[in-house]
């Protein structure tokens, strides 16, 4: 609840970019709690925290990572629809380098090398996207469509069309292990988030990215190296997708070239949008995107726990996207505002 100590503070809170995502998340948590009294309950079991909230955080980590990368890309007026394919490629490379020997005692390459290899390939994928967008000048959606189409083919090439099952136990720690009682994936997410957050707030990077997103020409005239910045944004997005791929494959102990990261690009775009980043580029919010990812995961959890058929999940997501994009549309807000006086919604993003 935004505190209402003074009218101006209340109005400022309403206008803040993160207010609506947070309210949405709080509402979803409240719904979950109302229908499932033990929802907020967290207990210590088997040497780590255990409960619905921990579960949601753990499962939201890969999506949140991809959303962070996607946020930067969208902020530069781009879009990356190849992240799902990159997840599959990274998972396939990681699984191949670790090897599928049933004994489980050893890996084909040392674990750090396998992780580096997977992330390196993911970075190359991102670099490829970035070069197509910034140097060749293709529309982002088409440039990344190429990798989206070819990516799963490449991943299947690596896995030889099979689902590679991983038996090498140390690898499982990445997506299924616990550190200080919390899922290790959360620490990975926190590290990436902290690094990125410092980079965009403590250096001029965030400003440059916004400048490129708001007006690429003006940014270039002002001396921002926009092409390099765009290439870097796509590369970073690729790396994020790579980390997510490793987390996912570690969690399920296998790499499935066909299904790993399926529809992930859509969820990531949805998370970024929910977090208040406009798809037209410019202003962005990293915290918002993480909250967006949490909203999606909590929503999914709510749908399952309410006993609603899980099939309805997609319909609910579609309705959410429709509502959010209408709220983001200046034309819609102008018209709705003329009908109903709702300054709060109207001021949130303008």
């Amino acid at each position: 609840m935004p505190d209402a100590t003074s009218p101006s503070l209340f109005a400022a809170a309403l206008r803040h970019r993160l207010t609506w995502p947070l309210v949405t998340l709080a509402l979803l948590l409240a719904v979950n709690t109302a229908f499932n009294a033990s929802f907020l309950h967290i207990e210590w079991r088997d040497g780590h925290f255990y409960g619905s909230l921990v579960d949601i955080l753990n499962r939201a980590a890969p999506l949140a990572l991809v959303s962070l990368g996607m946020t930067l890309v969208i902020a530069t007026r781009g879009i990356d629809i190849s992240v799902g394919a990159v997840v599959a490629i990274a998972a396939a490379v990681g699984a191949w380098m670790i090897g599928g020997s049933v004994s489980g005692g050893e890996s084909r390459f040392p674990l750090p090398l396998a992780i580096l290899g997977a992330l390196g390939v993911a970075a190359l994928c991102g670099l490829w996207n970035g070069l197509l967008v910034a140097k060749v000048g293709m529309q982002p959606i088409i440039a990344t469509l190429i990798l989206m189409v070819a990516g799963r083919g490449i991943a299947q090439l690596i896995t030889d069309g099979q689902i590679i099952t991983i038996y090498y136990a140390p690898f499982f720690f990445l997506g299924g292990g616990y550190l200080l009682g919390l899922p290790f994936a959360l620490f990975v997410l926190a590290a990436v988030f902290a690094g990125l957050y410092l980079a965009v707030t403590r250096t001029a990077l965030g400003l440059f990215i916004q400048a490129v997103g708001i007006n690429p020409t003006a940014a270039r005239v002002a001396g921002v190296q926009s092409r390099r910045l765009v290439v870097a944004a796509y590369t970073f997005c690729g790396v994020c997708a790579g980390i997510a791929g490793l987390l996912i494959s570690s969690n399920v102990k296998s790499a499935d070239a066909n299904n790993a990261g399926q529809m992930l690009e859509l969820d990531a775009i949805l998370a970024v949008t929910l977090g208040g980043t406009a798809l037209t580029g410019g202003r962005f919010s990293l915290v918002g995107s993480v909250i967006g990812a949490l909203i999606i995961q909590t929503l999914t959890y709510a749908i399952y726990s309410l006993g609603v058929p899980p099939e309805i999940n997609l319909v609910v997501k579609a309705v959410v996207v429709f509502i959010v994009m209408l709220l983001q549309s200046p034309d819609f807000r102008a018209q709705a505002g003329a009908l109903v006086r709702r300054p709060a919604a109207g001021g949130a993003l303008s």
Binding site: V149, A150, E311
Partner: protein
Amino acid sequence: MSGGHSPALNAAPAADAPIQRPVSPSMRLNPKYLPLAATIALFVAMATAGSVLYTGFFSAQVFLNLLIDNAFLIIVAVGMTFVILSGGIDLSVGSVVALTTMVLASLVEHHHWSPLTAIPLVLLMGTVFGAFMGFLIERFRLQPFIVTLAGMFLARGLCYLISIDSISMADEAYSAMAQWRLDLWEGASLSLGALIAMAVLLAAIFVAHCTPFGRNLYAVGGNEHSAVLMGLPVRATVIGVYTLSGLCSALAGVVFTFYMLSGYGLHATGMELDAIAAVVIGGTLLTGGVGYVAGTLFGVLMLGIIQTLISFDGTLSSWWTRIVVGVLLFVFCLLQRLLTHRTSR
């Protein structure tokens, strides 16, 4: 993605299509025909290579099968061509195809409707769905990409609300329609779906090049602002384009049920990607305003012949299809960039 339904196509139409293309007297090697010319040349080269390398490849039925196996993709891609010509994109087509198969199968099998009443109903449903998305895009100035993305979620989700299982269609009249073949010559034949696809293609060529709507479409795709200043009905055109795409998707869904004889929520996953790839390979510029519906046919045929070549080869795995399509997409996008000197906005 399970949807490797790719495209394909044939010899007979290949002979007519260039004739249907509007030929202006001054057309000699205008660079805008280059992508289309490259596609046709590549198609002929692949067909020739296949005929030389594999016995049995060079037969009328192999080429007619390209049409039969990709009839639904041709119809979807034709609708997509209109959308891309207008400067937009429609990601919902695959889901609308799936929803159509699902509703149709459910009405015919579970509610015992006659296909003759069910088919017009699903066509109407697809049309309304497309019109709704077009309305949102035009009325509230939303990005086509995100609106049709939501439409994609919605249509796919509605499929699962009807049933999460595949509904097979055992209706006798329906099976008869699906199995009906038009004999051409020496045993070669075309299915009803392929005939519908050809009819749609001819109608689309007529609409694009011989009607006011078609001219408005090119004008809006070329420069929406100019079109507004010229007093063209931009709003009606944009909504019309998505309506048309919705109708094409629904029709493709009907043809898909002829082909698969079932309704299933997982049908046609990834078909939007195949359709976009076919349109791009067919020489339509993604920035809008430049391209030909006939080119899309060759785009689909190209995807189809890649798949046919790979299946004739036998040693290449199916995923090579996706990789080759990706490479082709890359090459043609690059070609487009070289041909258009406009800087991206």
